[in-house]
């Protein structure tokens, strides 16, 4: 059983390794426009080493052990600038160039903890880390430890990058299909692959939903009338793929025998929570962790109305 699950895992990892852009299009650090916008010195912090750029091929040289999570998005390259000042915490600026604003937003939603601040299109700050996205760029600026001065510098650097990005980018269109009532905004996630799904909500070692870089997934938790549930909305490139994934979920997760045209009401799982699924065209809506059957049914019904 484990061996099979591993094979499925390797397949999904392999699918992530195809580069979004040819590596020769990765800019040299000195040619990256947003990098040029950064100061050499700010409030006593000096650029402390040569800038670096890592692309899809060498991301593991920088994020050894976590590159997979960026490869799961349409990540193109990351620019890294480091600042140092005597007797003060080092500050690192990371600018992730994605191929779309949807994926810049998606990376941003990987972590929702922090205080909202006004930088870029959405930003969170906490304990010396600023994270924000704007257009097709995701930015992290972090101090080794937080001090008032370091925080000021971080916010200034954030504002500098923000100003250097001329336009705003749209959020993923799929978010517009999430039902609004009861939605808990900090829980909204956007991603593509099973690695991301399992980092938010572990479903299976196997890729039951047949997620791939081509699939769009929006996920959010709902609390309506004190009844909670989580909705996973998947957009597939074709109706056939959505149909197949629906069947796999019904059989492999809900443990029901799938039959075309048959309706599958939500079922109670071992943890006393309810799960169910409904498909419409290229879309698959899945309710999990619903407090009761009515909540799962309501989530699916409202999702279906938006598909």
């Amino acid at each position: 059983m484990i061996a099979t699950a591993l094979c499925l895992g390797f397949l999904s990892l392999a699918a992530l390794m195809s580069p979004a852009v040819p590596p020769e299009q990765t800019p040299a650090p000195s040619d990256f426009a947003l990098g040029k916008a950064l100061p050499q010195e700010i409030s006593g912090w000096q650029k402390s080493r040569d800038d670096q750029v890592f692309n899809r091929e060498d991301i593991f040289d920088y994020l050894d052990g976590a590159g997979e999570l960026y490869l799961a998005f349409d990540f193109q390259f990351v620019f890294v600038r480091e600042y140092a000042r005597a007797e003060a915490p080092a500050i690192v600026v990371e600018i992730y160039q994605m191929s779309s604003s949807a994926d810049a937003y998606g990376i941003f939603t990987q972590d929702s903890d922090g205080q909202e601040v006004r930088v870029g299109q959405e930003a969170l700050y906490g304990a010396g880390l600023l994270r924000f996205w704007k257009d097709d760029v995701f930015i992290r600026i972090m101090a080794d430890r937080e001090t008032p001065e370091a925080r000021n510098v971080i916010m200034k650097l954030g504002a500098t990058i923000d100003a250097a990005i001329s336009g705003a980018g749209p959020k993923p269109g799929l978010l517009g299909r999430l039902p609004v009532e009861g939605l808990e905004p900090p829980t909204v996630r956007f991603f593509h692959t099973v690695i991301s799904l399992n980092s938010f909500y572990f479903m299976s070692n196997a890729n039951i939903l047949n997620l791939s870089p081509e699939t769009q997934v929006a996920m959010a938790r709902y609390d309506k009338d004190s009844a909670r549930g989580t909705l996973i909305l998947v957009e597939y490139p074709s109706e056939e793929k959505a149909y197949s994934a629906c069947g796999r979920f019904i059989e492999m997760y809900l443990l029901q025998r799938f039959a075309p045209g048959k309706k599958f009401p939500p079922v109670e799982l071992e943890n006393k929570k309810y799960a169910g699924a409904v498909r419409a065209g290229r879309f698959l809506a899945i309710a999990v962790e619903a407090d009761d059957k009515a909540t799962a049914e309501d989530l699916l019904k409202r999702a279906l109305a938006n598909l």
Partner: protein, 307 residues
């Protein structure tokens, strides 16, 4: 869809169902009590309080170990390690205690972790304290190799595993099992799923060499990652010692799960679950993942010990 396929996937439902998969259920719910409580026919067994333990884990804490600006107090760390090793060895004398784990003729690899981007390093005072005591046990300086990447494990006759504690988006948690991942030539093959992580302990150049595990629990990381958010790190001021990597990881998993629930004020499951821990027990026989078979000895500062 063929029925057999249903059995290929290891799903969340499998974890919820199986008491045999107790460690995973801890990650998913944080409620190990459900897994080891008596069914009525036999008395309840408190987790981490085994009377006849399969494995003993020693945790020693000091409020002095981590000071202002997160500065590590080397003397306090030395004291923590000495106390923990003496307790585990059942010796009042520190040299006699270390003599139970290393011999003068050994070549000792001190495998710490220094992941530059993640920043949850083994603190240098921890490494220094261990190297000092290994030397005092009679091992010549040239035969003590303290290293992370590139440690010549084949040359070593003994290993001391010195990981930190961090929740990890690809393996669930990274402690003793994960710290050996760079003994593999292809570390990313042990990510997502990470079920086979334990097999590294059985590689010919590694098998049987681990004499001691000393975990730096001074400033663990409980957040989702993939990159550190300082909001998800806390000063715990602990050193954990044992010889069973599975029991160590099980204990640290519990610690992080409790901390996550405290941080969010509700269950915040570690995702994906650390299935490598259960597999290290059930598949690779490296130790026990059953909290009811582990005795956790707690010494020193007990404020907010959490486990």
């Amino acid at each position: 869809m063929r029925k057999r396929k249903m059995h290929n996937a290891v799903t969340r439902r499998d974890f919820i169902k199986g008491a045999a998969l107790g460690t995973l259920a801890i990650a998913l719910s944080g409620r190990e009590r459900d897994l080891v409580a008596g069914t009525g026919a036999e008395p309840a067994v408190r987790p981490f309080a085994a009377q006849n333990p399969q494995s003993v884990v020693v945790l020693v804490r000091s409020e002095k170990a981590v000071g202002v600006d997160d500065k590590i107090d080397a003397a306090a760390v030395q004291d923590l390690i000495d106390t923990a090793v003496k307790e585990l060895a059942g010796e009042a004398d520190i040299v006699k205690a270390w003599a139970k784990f290393v011999r003068p003729e050994d070549t000792v690899g001190v495998k710490f972790t220094r992941c530059s981007w993640m920043r949850v390093h083994t603190e240098q005072p921890v490494i220094d304290a261990i190297v000092k005591r290994v030397g005092e046990a009679g091992v010549a300086g040239g035969k003590i190799i303290a290293q992370d990447e590139g440690l010549p494990v084949a040359k070593c006759t003994a290993l001391i595993n010195v990981p930190t504690v961090k929740v990890h988006t690809l393996t669930g948690i990274a402690v003793a099992l994960k710290n050996y991942i760079n003994f593999s030539s292809k570390p990313s093959s042990y990510h997502a799923p990470s079920t086979n992580l334990g097999e590294i302990y059985l590689k010919p150049e590694v098998k049987g060499k681990t004499r001691l595990i000393i975990v730096d629990v001074l400033r663990p990381y409980f957040g989702p990652g993939p990159q550190i958010n300082p909001l998800h790190r806390w000063n715990y001021g602990g050193i954990m010692v044992g010889t069973d990597p599975v029991a160590i990881d099980t204990t640290c998993l519990k610690l992080c799960q409790v901390k996550r629930r405290l941080f969010k004020g509700e269950d915040w499951p570690i995702s994906p679950p650390a299935d490598n821990i259960t597999a290290a027990d059930k598949t690779f026989n490296l130790g026990t993942s059953d909290p009811a078979k582990i005795k956790l000895v707690k010494l020193g500062w007990d404020k907010d010990v959490l486990i």
